[in-house]
């Protein structure tokens, strides 16, 4: 065992250890003292975040566009590079923020606090491992650590049948996607005889057809199946149909974790597969058009269906699908081009900005109550600005930023993605992206208009009930902080880009 290599995975270890510590402490504390558990989890995520930022192979935050020195550790099982570390940051952030926003309404979850928090931390562990896994075996294990934790978290409101239903749908469709992914890996293994992503890249595929070791038919079949499985996992059209149901049924803080963390980890895998494993031109000439078609379809489907929703949670789910489509535009680049690092950098930045504003929006959804339940439908937002001006303002910032309005964070990240796609010659896809993101203003603005221009709805007892919750202040703080960060990322993107 090589400790200096293993120590590069220390941030993951910290999160994993925190998960175990939280579950262990939960056994010994009195029910009244359980309030401390989420904060231990937040501290663990925060430490891991700081460590990921401090690592010197993380040029992503140093302002450099290089992908950085890539370190393969543990016999090629993991690859520590700038892209993976960027995903670590997003995953830790998603974990910490969803822990904060779950702190005040954990009494609604019938899972005991320790298990709920432990599972969130385990899911974050899985995401972080997935982001750096460089071998199909570690990919499978970390994918399942993440997925199984999220299945349980989705169903954690176990007395509510909507939560059960969402968990069941997520499990069945998630496992369905995994089966396709695994079948793809199996054929890939059949074609190459190896499970290591980099080994395959470096030598054998170039000699395809003449080397007896690599069988192109099997590899192509494998790539197709892996492609289907990957689209399932990131929720791209035509395999997006599970997302709205799952996001709507899950508890709000878990929805935030899924929308941000799971998606970021999925994109890490997709990026690694396409830019490392299937990087040779025989393959990229096949998957580039496929990604382009899927991206366009995802943007169109997500945005159009989002317009028809009356539930804000479901609308945000469809908008998440649309954002998956925008992010896929960032993958439209020939893998041997020298701009790949820049594209991955844009994807990273987009995920960070998307994460901040989405988690803020889900924080708002989780904080406010209508008739004792978290607010959900469009009508619940009517007249919110009169009672809670600050929160309504933040929600407006999140909505406009998700739509890509100029001074806000969402606009700059979208700009970078579209610019990259146009530079690579995918003008039509970029134009469709721009048009659909203009169209998306319709449904985002509907929320803003409801909040600021409709008369107050009597059924909404927003703040009074909410502020009685023990940790409402923390969620309030989260909403304001993410709102301000969204503003800052838009005005001064150079801070992290």
């Amino acid at each position: 065992m090589n400790w200096s290599e293993l120590s590069q995975l220390l941030p993951v270890g910290v999160v994993l250890l925190t998960a175990l510590v939280v579950v262990a402490i939960d056994l010994f504390v009195k029910p009244n003292d359980r309030f401390v558990l989420p904060w231990i989890g937040v501290a663990g995520c925060g430490i891991a975040l700081a460590m990921a930022l401090k690592t010197n192979t993380a040029p992503w935050f140093a302002g450099s566009h290089e992908d950085g020195a890539k370190a393969l550790i543990l016999g090629g099982a993991f690859s520590i590079d700038g892209f993976g570390l960027g995903i670590w940051v997003v995953a830790c952030l998603a974990g910490a923020l969803s822990l904060i926003s779950s702190a005040h309404h954990e009494e609604e979850s019938t899972l005991s606090a320790g298990e709920f928090i432990g599972l969130i931390l385990l899911a974050v562990t899985g995401m972080m491992l997935l982001a750096v896994s460089h071998d199909f075996l570690t990919l499978l294990i970390s994918l399942e650590i993440m997925s199984i934790s999220t299945y349980i978290l989705t169903g954690s409101n176990r007395h509510e049948s909507r939560s059960n239903e969402a968990a069941l749908k997520y499990l069945v469709l998630g496992a369905f996607g995994t089966a396709f992914l695994l079948m793809g890996i199996a054929f890939f293994y059949g074609g190459t005889g190896s499970l290591d992503m980099s080994e395959i890249v470096s030598g054998q595929i170039g000699k395809m057809g003449q080397a007896s070791q690599v069988n192109p038919t099997f590899v192509l079949l494998g790539m197709g199946l892996i492609f289907v499985g990957a689209l399932f996992k990131i929720g791209a059209a035509p395999f997006h149909f599970w997302i709205p149901d799952v996001y709507q049924g899950a508890p709000v803080s878990v929805t935030g974790l899924m929308a941000v963390g799971v998606k970021a980890a999925g994109f890490a895998v997709v990026g690694r597969l396409f830019f490392e494993t299937f990087a040779s031109s025989e393959f990229s000439s096949l998957w580039l058009p496929a990604i382009e078609v899927a991206a366009v379809a995802t943007m169109i489907v997500g945005n159009i269906l989002a317009m028809t929703q009356s539930s804000v949670k479901r609308m945000l789910a469809y908008s998440g699908i649309a954002h998956t489509g925008y992010l896929m535009l960032g993958l439209l680049i020939a893998p041997n081009s020298k701009d790949v690092a820049e594209h991955l950098h844009s994807i990273n930045f987009y995920l960070l900005v998307y994460g901040v504003m989405t988690l803020g929006a889900f924080g708002v959804l989780g904080l406010l109550r209508a008739n004792g339940r978290p607010i959900e439908s469009m009508d619940d937002f009517a007249g919110l600005a009169k009672e809670h001006t600050g929160i309504a303002l933040c929600m407006a910032i999140f909505m406009l930023s998700l739509a890509g309005m100029p001074p806000l964070g969402g606009s700059f990240s979208k700009f970078m993605i579209f610019k990259g796609a146009i530079k690579e010659g995918h003008v039509l896809a970029a134009v469709i992206g721009i048009l659909t993101s203009v169209a998306s203003l319709y449904y985002y603005l509907r929320v803003v208009v409801k909040m600021f221009m409709s008369p107050a709805n009597d059924a909404v007892k927003g703040g009074d009930e909410a502020t009685q919750c023990q940790y409402a202040w923390a969620t309030n703080l989260l909403i304001y902080a993410t709102g301000i960060v969204t503003l800052i990322l838009g005005m001064m993107p150079g801070l992290v880009f």
């Binding site: 199909f136 075996l137 499978l140 294990i141 399942e144 199984i148 299945y151 349980i152 169903g155 176990r158 007395h159 509510e160 049948s161 909507r162 059960n164 239903e165 969402a166 968990a167 069941l168 749908k169 499990l171 069945v172 496992a175 369905f176 995994t178 089966a179 695994l182 079948m183 890996i185 199996a186 054929f187 293994y189 059949g190 005889g193 190896s194 499970l195 080994e199 057809g209 007896s212 070791q213 069988n215 192109p216 038919t217 099997f218 709205p244 149901d245 709507q248 049924g249 929703q309 009356s310 539930s311 479901r314």
Partner: protein
């Protein structure tokens, strides 16, 4: 494509087992599983179909592992044959974990709704 598929390389003892046969069998099992997930209405059957799909993957891994073990005597990758078997073992473990969670979720669902029929799962459409 004009490539020769190494269909006859699973030599077992003196007999020759056909890789093509193994792959076709796995494909059929996988398709039956996929059809079951899509078409069956009972969630228990759906979960069993998922297991069927994963076991088809195991079969593919096992056959390819044998193929590589026989093919790569002279190759640079001496462990090619073992990789597939190890992967299949991991899939078995993962499938067990997934089935456990799936059944637990199904039981909580049944406690609330007293049904395991997918046609009754309509609460999440508005």
């Amino acid at each position: 494509m004009g490539f020769d598929l190494p269909f006859n390389v699973i030599a077992d003892g003196g007999g020759l087992m056909n890789l093509k046969g193994c792959l076709i069998l796995a494909g059929v099992i996988f398709s039956i599983g996929a059809w079951g997930v899509v078409a069956r209405r009972n969630v228990l059957t759906v979960l069993i179909s998922l297991e069927l799909m994963l076991n088809a993957v195991n079969l593919v891994f096992a056959s390819f592992a044998r193929m590589h073990a026989n093919m790569t005597q002279s190759a640079n990758n001496a462990t090619a044959g073992e990789n597939g078997q190890i992967f299949a073992l991991f899939i078995i473990a993962v499938a067990a974990a997934e089935a456990a969670v799936g059944l637990a979720i199904l039981i909580t669902y049944f406690r609330n709704k007293e049904t395991v029929d997918t046609r009754d799962m309509k609460e999440l459409k508005q």
